[in-house]
Every structure is written in C-alpha cells, then in structure tokens.
Amino acid sequence: MKFQLKNIVTVLLIAFTFVSCSTDNSEPIVISELDGLTKIQELTNDTHTIELYSASGTLQQGYNAISLRIKNKATKEYETNATVNWAPIMKMSTMTHACPYSEIKKTSGKQTLYNGYIVFQMAENTMEHWFLTVNYSINGVAESVSAQIAVPASTKQRVTTFIGTDGTKYLLALIDPSNPKVATNEMTVGVYKMSSMMQFPVVDGFKVKIDPRMPSMGNHGSPNNVDLIQSSIDKLYHGKLSLTMTGYWKINLQLLNDKNEVLKGESITDAVPSSTIYFEIEF
C-alpha cells in the first residue's frame, strides 16, 4: 500500500512538472540592435554622424571591441550598405604611430551595425592623444570623418610591447577572458609585430605560453592551463586559462616563434617570481 501511494504521488509530481513546463510559453525574442552596447562618442562630418559603441561605453588601453553605426543626417536613417575602414593614430610629441587593428565588417545578425577591434598599446596623456579616422563609402561615394578619442590607461595590464631576441618589436594583447570566472576560461590573445610605425600585422605560427599566478598568495599557480596557438579562422591565439579563485592574477607569458625558440619571457621558478611579459586579471 505504502509503495503504491508513493508511486502515485511520484507520477502526479512528474505529470505536474510536465504540465507546468508545457504551459511555460517563452516570449518571442526581440533582438535589439544595441543589445549590450553603450555609446562611446559620435564623430560628425557634414553628411553623417558615426556613433561608436563598446560594451562598457569607453575605450581603454589594450584590446577594444568596437561597434559603429552611420547615421545619415538628412534622412535620420542608419546606413545599412556602407563599406567601412578605419585608421587609429597616436600623435605623440615627437612622432606619430598607429596600432594593431582589424578590418570593419557588417555585424552579422544586425541591420545597422559594423564592428571590428583596435589594440591601443599606449594610453593617452595630457599632451599625447589618439585620433580615429573612419573612412566609408555608400553607393560609391567615399567620405571620411576624423576626431580625437579618449584612451585612458587600463587599471590592469592588458597589452604588452617588447623587443624579442630576434630584434623585432612585438605586441601582445589580451582579448579573452573579458569576463573571467572561477573556471577554465577560454583565453584569446592577439600577437602582432611592428613592421613600421604604421603597420602592425598579425604574426603567424607562433606560440604563447601562459603561467597564471597569484602574487598575493605565495605566487601559487593553477592546473591544466593550455598554451595558446593560432587559429586559422580568426588568426588570433587561443588556449585555456584556469583560475581557481577570484582575486588578482598575473598571467605570466612567454612568446615562442615557429621554431619553438623563446623570443621573450621567463619560466616561473622560486627565484623568478614573474616573467618580464605578463597580463593582469582581477575579478
């Protein structure tokens, strides 16, 4: 008897669960153009206003994923059929240089958005600033807009520039994890070299070794990290980063060329608590 009763109760409970699931209709998903994006600033010329967006609404030193929209001043409509490229430059007191940046593509799944990334290897200061030029053409008509943009220093190190043992100047930028978790995080890094003041192409076939450490806790590490190798799809370097707790982590780096020679960075030992090249993550 007792068992029968228990079974009946179980069946009823299961039935109830299914009923409540099936009545739980999900609402149609409304995709907003600007979901998760905040405006950084506007760049204006006579015909158009370029709206720059990022997740945080700001730019900072290091890697920045940037979206933009082009608003026709006359029609107040957003252009959906433009060809866009951009050129960030930093005007310093003695020289001018560019930085690594991607092409701009139409954002898939969106009507009016275009996106790409820029890696600012330096932060602005009171005398020296970054300028962004956006070139676009609509129906064969080319236009351009340019303005100063604010690139403050990041609180944690997200980009590192150095000269490798091969004499080349390299630049590493931390792309992911952008929202680090206590977990095995997917890690993405961009590896660039400075071939001229204006040219920072992606480097192919290298390897980035990582060793995350917590300096405030006896410099302990974490297990099962996977060194970063280049993906043939996005040309960026991908690996896995284990973070066993929240707090401040120093991601010690070593850059290896295609012959597995260390170009920069040191292995961590008791005597060498930190590599000369590293990223910082705090969460």
Partner: protein, 696 residues
Amino acid sequence: MVVEQFSQIKKAKTSYILAFILRFIMKKIIFSWALFCLAIASIYGQEQTKDTIAPNNLNEVIVIGKKSEISQKQVKPLASIDEYLQQSGKIEMIKRGGYAWEPVLNSMATERTLITIDGMRIFGACTDKMDPISSYIEVSNLSEASIKSGQQGACHGATIGGAIDLKRNRSSFNDLGWKTSVNTGFETNSNQKIFGTAVNYVSDSFYIDTDFMYRDADNYSGGNSQKVLFSQFRKFNISATSGVLIDKNKLVEGSIIYDKATAVGYPALPMDVSLAEALITSLKFEYVPKSKKLTSDLALTNWETKIYYNTITHKMDDTKRPAVPIHMDMPGWSDTYGFYSKIKGVIENHHFNVDLNSFYNRSIAEMTMYPSDPNENLMFMYTWPDVRTFYGSLFLEDNIALNAASSLKFSVSLGNHFNEVADQLGLESLQIFYPNMSKSKSRILKSISANYLHYQNGFEYGLGIAYGERAPSVSEGYGFYLFNSFDRYDYIGNPGLKNENSVEGNAYLGYKNKSFSAKLTSSYFHISNYIVGKPDATVLPMTIGASGIKVYTALDYATIFNTDLNLEYQFDSHFKAKGQLVYNYGKDLENQNLPFISPLRYSTALNYKKDRFSAEIMIQGNATQTQYSPFYGEDRTPDYAILNLTSSYLFAINESKLNVRAGIENVLDTYYSTFSDWNNIPRKGRNFFLNVTFAY
C-alpha cells in the same frame, strides 16, 4: 509493553588485563588465532548480550548515563564524550586539541565509519574535520554509545569500518515524578569548569527530559607543565526530549538539541574555530502492537518511524594566531533532512528487522582570503561546492535462533547514493581538474553480512563474514584545495572515484563465570578501491607553505586487522582488576603502513569498593609506534605510560544522592604524545579533577 522497551538499558561491557594472568591470556591468544586461521576469510569480533533467543547485534556498549543521572560507574563521570568513547578497544581518537576529537573505529576515521545520534545522520560542516558528530552532543544527553563493527553497523547507512550510535537519554515510565540532578566539575590542568543540570518529569503517559551542560576550559598543559597554546574551548549544550504515550502502545516523541561552541582552539591546526553550532531535531513515532501475533507465526514487536532535521554552522578563525601568511575566512554549513522507519518482528525462530531509511544533505564550505594590499579584490572559492547528497536504502536483517545455544544472523542492504554539485561556480571550479565531469553522479551501495554465534557453559564465540561498500565523502569526491596540516598537502576531490568496498571477516571468543571474564575480538578488512590522496607533482599547491597537491585516488586494496582483548577479574567483594590489550595493523598493497594505526596499547586497573567508597588505580600506555607512515605525514611516536588515580564517595541523604569523585590523571606529569595526536601535540599533563553530582 512499550514501557519495557523504553526502560531497557543495556549492560556495559568493559574488561581489562592483569599481569599475573598473562600466561592465561597468551593461551587464549594462541587458541583464537588458530581459530582465525581456520576461518577462510579473516576474523572479527563482537560482544553479545545474554539473550540467546534473540542474539543482540551490539558489538560493544559504553554506558554514559541513566535517566537523569550520569553514570557513576565511570571513573570520571563528567568526562567529555570523547573520553568515554576512547575506553573502547575498537575506538581511538584523533586529537587536534583539547576538544572535538575525531573517533577512529576499527582503525578507520570519519570517511569509513558512521556516527549517528539516535539513528540520525548528521554531517560535520568542517572541511578540516574539526567537528565530528560527537562534538555536538554532551554526556548529559546520552545514555550509551553503541559500537557496531563493520557491516553490523550497516543498519545506519553505508559504512566500511562500522557505526557508533549515540543513544539519547530517555525517562522510563517505571519511574514517575520529578527527577533533578545537578552536575558540576572542575579540572585543574586546563582550569576547566563544568556545570550542568538535568530536570526530568514523568507521568503515566507523558514525559519530558531536559538537560543543560556548560564547559569552559583554558589552555591545557602537557607534561612538565608545557602550556599547549590555543587548546582552550567553551561550549554549552541544551537539549529536551518529550514524549506522549497514546493507548499505552503508541509513543510520539519530539527531541531537540542545541549545541554551541565558541573560541575553540586547535593547537595542532593552523586555525581555530570561532563558532561551531548545531541544531538537531527529530520527531518520532513508535508503535508496539498490543497483540503481537498477526498470524499464528508472525508477530510484530515494534515499529519505529522518525523524521529529522539538523543544521550545522562552522566558522574557522585565524585572527588569534600570530603571523598568519594570509588571513582567511573559512565557514562551512551542513544541513541534513532524513527519515527512517523500522519494523521488528518474529516469525517462528526468526527475529527480523526491516529498516527503510533516507537522508538528504547539503554541504557547503567556502574560503575567502584577504590580500595584504587592501585595494586588491578578495580571493574567493568554494572548498565544498554546495554538494547535495541524497541517500535511500533498505536494510533487512534476520536473526535465526538455531537452538538454545547458537544463532545465525544475516543482513543485507541496498542503497542508492546520489550526489550533485549544485553551485555553478563550484562545478566550474572542479571542472578545471575534471573538464568532462558532470554535475551529478549516482551510485548503488550494497552490503551483506552473515554471523554465527555460539554460547555454552560460559563460553561464547562468534564468526562472521561480510561485504560492504561506501561512496566517497564530500571531501574525497568534491573537495577543492583542502589543506591537510598533517602531511601538508592540498587535497583535491575526485568525482570519478569508484565505490570503496570491503570484504570483512570477524571472530570473537569469550568466557565468563562469576569472578572472571575474558573476551578476545578480532576483525580483518580487505578494502578494495581504498581511497587515499596521491601526490600530483604537475599541479601547484594553493596554500602558502604546502608541500604539494594530492588528488584523491584509489589504491587497489589495503588491509586492516584489529584485535582487542578485555579481561576482568573479581578477587573478592572489594577488589576487582581489569585489563585491556589492543593490537592494530594496516598496510596497503605495497606493504606501506596506513596512517593512524595504533601501536600496541594497553590499560590495566585495580578497583577497590567498600560500601559507598570506591577507588581505582589505573595504568594506561602505548608501545612505540614502529609501523608509522611517513607518506601520510606520520613519524615514530615513542612509547608512554601514565598513571591515574581516582576515588569516590556516595552520600545518600533521604532520597537524594550526592556523588563526589576526585582523581588525578597522569599523576607523574609524564610528557607524552600518542600516535593519534595531530602533529604530535602533547597530551595533558598532571590533572586533578573533581566531579560532584547531586540527584534528587
């Protein structure tokens, strides 16, 4: 009658050794070890009450109290529950300080054994085992500790080493009216002050038992007056049990225990405890059929059902310690909901017992570390990632009286053990080590045992074989960077561990006449998939100063053998001698020693009693620990022997009884540490104690 059920109090069985009968003992040992060889499997022992019709499965019982009074048979009635348990030849205590010792049963610690309070499952909330279940009760709550070896403890859940059921006090309907007692004690060594009361009331169909106990101890001193810093503790315990008898054969009983310890020092560990708090509640329904015979053959004798809930909060504290490398908070919580329902009955010569039981436990522990730079974010992680355990099992036992002198007992149980990691952060933390780990895991746990008992002309012997399984503990399965200050490794749980299982053999041999009793019991366990931590040199430790990482893995097998001999001799109406000799052995498959295996240990006592006066002299000691295990952080522990003296006098004034007991423990102030003292902390030096109990 239900009344009889409730008033039944098990007789204590304690025995000791005496030098002048050593030759006799040796003969016994040789004889029973021959017996051991005869048994195909290995051997194990149990003690047995005299009821030959229904052999009792109790292995050993330590009487703690009776109704409102704490047992006056004890040398030190207001001793801690830990000190009571330690009297058993099957139990050792791992000591991390002055309080909350961890019981080790048959050379197996918490993971492999069960401790229950009146059959209730309770799980400690400390990742460092600072809070064994026995730390949440008081001697004033308890009537006895029933110790069952190996699979004979399977009625309380899945176990390898056995079970200790701590049985609550309960008023008997035989003794109506009010009963009050006041207990107070003082110990010089730790400046421990003990105060307790018990107030009980019984009417024809109602009873209520309440008690209160408070202990406050400073740091104790080892031998030669060496202060053991951070060994202080303070705790109080309050409990109530109340029952209503309906129709003379149905009983409804509610029970509650609240226990709170603060500022508990753990000198052997890097941290102390600022709070250890438990609330333990239950509601029981008991039914004794008026007409026991259901059919001409079948009779039901008792049906007991209980639902229970308990919640434990544990907060560790390093703020009192000088120079901690990094300050951290480590709180833990454990909540358990459970029930059991058991029916006892008789069919012809079969005494059977059916027990359906289940529990649901939620264990969470976390760790927050404070960086020295206050601008840095706090470092947080789960050390127990909100692990839910759901267990249900059916236990069946049949006790067959073969004839007036012998009986056979079988038991089987089948349980389902389900674990789930409920916290996403916790799950993803563990997935750093086990990328393919799933959120939950289900296991089937089986147990089967058979025992044969024979009793004739004062001689009794028993043989048993059994098989049992257990699931990994929360720490073994899901622990995340648990620092073990004994071997100084950080431990990582392993959710993929197989069930640990044990094939067990046991035997005992006893003899008893008017003035002499002797009992030799032995048990042997062959444990497969024996769960231990194995160093993983590829992973860096987290704790500052740790030697490395150990990941829980399983050895193919390990073996454990325990034997204990208890002797008692009554010279005349005044003098009685007791002795106990215990030998344990534990090795893994590579013949490496297992940790916390006792060296040869002994105790012997001579007792004098005349009218209301009694006195006892006792020597207790260990041989040198030669079979220690450096792999688990052990070193060689030298031998020791200590001398204790006690005396007591019972004043009877009308209906009231005043018992005054005074004694000196470790009279010679010997400095010593035992094999089970965590990090070799010294045991208490000379200690004068005074226990006064007044009952009316």
